[in-house]
Symmetry: C2
Subunit: 230 residues, 2 copies
DNA sequence: ATAATAGTGTCTGTGAGACATTATGTA
DNA sequence: TACATAATGTCTCACAGACACTATTAT
């Protein structure tokens, strides 16, 4: 039966929003060959010997065993498989999009964040086809940001409209009218997904900002019935 | 390296629209154990020895080696993996949604179509977790039918508005206003995705129907910027 | 003429887009 | 007071929903 089998892994495209409104990708230094010592997507092999109940828990294991923080959102994106992506032979990778809160600390020297754009334009090369996996996950995020509240999972539970604008802009790659976003947040309030805390945030300049609180329902983002764009 | 590997397959959820406006699922009789002789989703094992270039071509092989017809649309839905779905042990299945034209003939005694509802409500039980894969693929179709032209891939290239209504109703599980659908088809005309043939179809009763022709662009369905529902 | 079905027109409601206006803080 | 930024209001436009009305065939 051994030769009927194939090399399979789960890889994580974990994104967070940095203070300048850009998306950053979590990378880990590979501990084993191939590409030992290089920066790559965190991932684990899946096979009968690992204790994973299923693929989703393997994804959680991959993320938790490296970065300590749990993702605020985790979604399977797709699976790629071919003969050339891994020098060891025909292999499969099921990859997940993970959205992290902005403040997660890196406790580990073998972890770092890099701006996604640097990965996508090859300034920061990744081994295997990992840059392609990042690109597909990025597209998934952008696609869903058009008609769901997905970018809010890049924010802390309590957030301001300005922060939400930054999350949508980073996810979509383009600006959103703040009035449009306010309308959508209003809908989410009515549905109980967002509550007005009554508290305010006092930045150095300008009018104080209302603090909202995100109350996400189990797993799926809020779905709107229109596109934000044009 | 052998024990680092895992059993992986590609399975196909191929749907077509029958004359009564219902969705039917393509099944094949299993030639090998486990579940030899039972009706199940057509699928193939993927491993280094099969000549597939990649997962997508393995999916095409799975469909083409069984049913002769090529799908009008093929999309990867997801991958499931756990220790219990296959009696042989930890296994992966990457499954695809395929949309077929309505007239495909079955040349093979080991192939048949069954109504999807019978599979979803367990009246027609399937081995492994295949009913679950069908349910997820069905949801993908319904989800995309809300804001894309995906159901048109269930029709022949030349179709009428009435047929398009049936395809959307079957995909969504609920009726669509014909005026709404006409508006969407009009948009697709302007974008060059649909052309008016000028010919008409003459049913037994009633006013003749305009014949439209679907000119799908490479791979992705036409995307509208609103939901059809409420 | 009548039945049956296809196609068009009209009115309403919703929410995005753009932009102006008002509100509330700091220096 | 001046400035910076947040929040609200207004007007337009596109399109879905509902429903009425007109058009074109067969019997």
């Amino acid at each position: 039966m051994g030769s009927a089998e194939v090399l399979a892994s789960v890889d994580i495209v974990a994104l967070r929003l940095n203070a300048r409104g850009g998306l950053e990708l979590l990378l880990g230094r590979r501990a084993q060959a191939p590409y030992e010592g290089q920066w790559a997507l965190p991932g684990v092999l899946v096979n009968g010997r690992s204790a994973d109940l299923n693929l989703d828990s393997a994804a959680e294991r991959a993320l938790h065993s490296k970065a300590k923080a749990r993702p605020q959102y985790l979604e399977q994106v797709a699976t790629v498989g071919n003969a050339v992506r891994d020098p060891r032979g025909w292999s499969l990778s099921t990859f997940y999009l993970a959205l992290l809160g902005p403040d997660d600390e890196l406790l580990d020297q073998d972890l770092r964040f890099v701006p996604v754009e640097e990965v996508l334009d090859e300034r920061f090369p990744l081994p295997f086809d990992h840059a392609q996996l990042v690109a597909q996950s990025r597209e998934r995020l952008a696609g869903k940001a058009v008609y769901t509240s997905l970018p809010l999972y890049l924010l802390p539970a309590r957030f301001t409209v300005t922060e939400a604008l930054a999350a949508f802009q980073a996810s979509l790659g383009q600006a959103v009218q703040h009035t449009t976003l306010r309308g959508r947040l209003e809908k989410m309030k009515q549905a109980g997904w967002i509550v007005e805390t009554g508290e305010k945030n006092y930045p150095k300049m300008g009018r104080p900002q209302n603090l909202l609180e995100h109350r996400p329902q189990p797993e799926q983002p809020f779905v709107f019935d229109r596109s934000v764009l044009s």
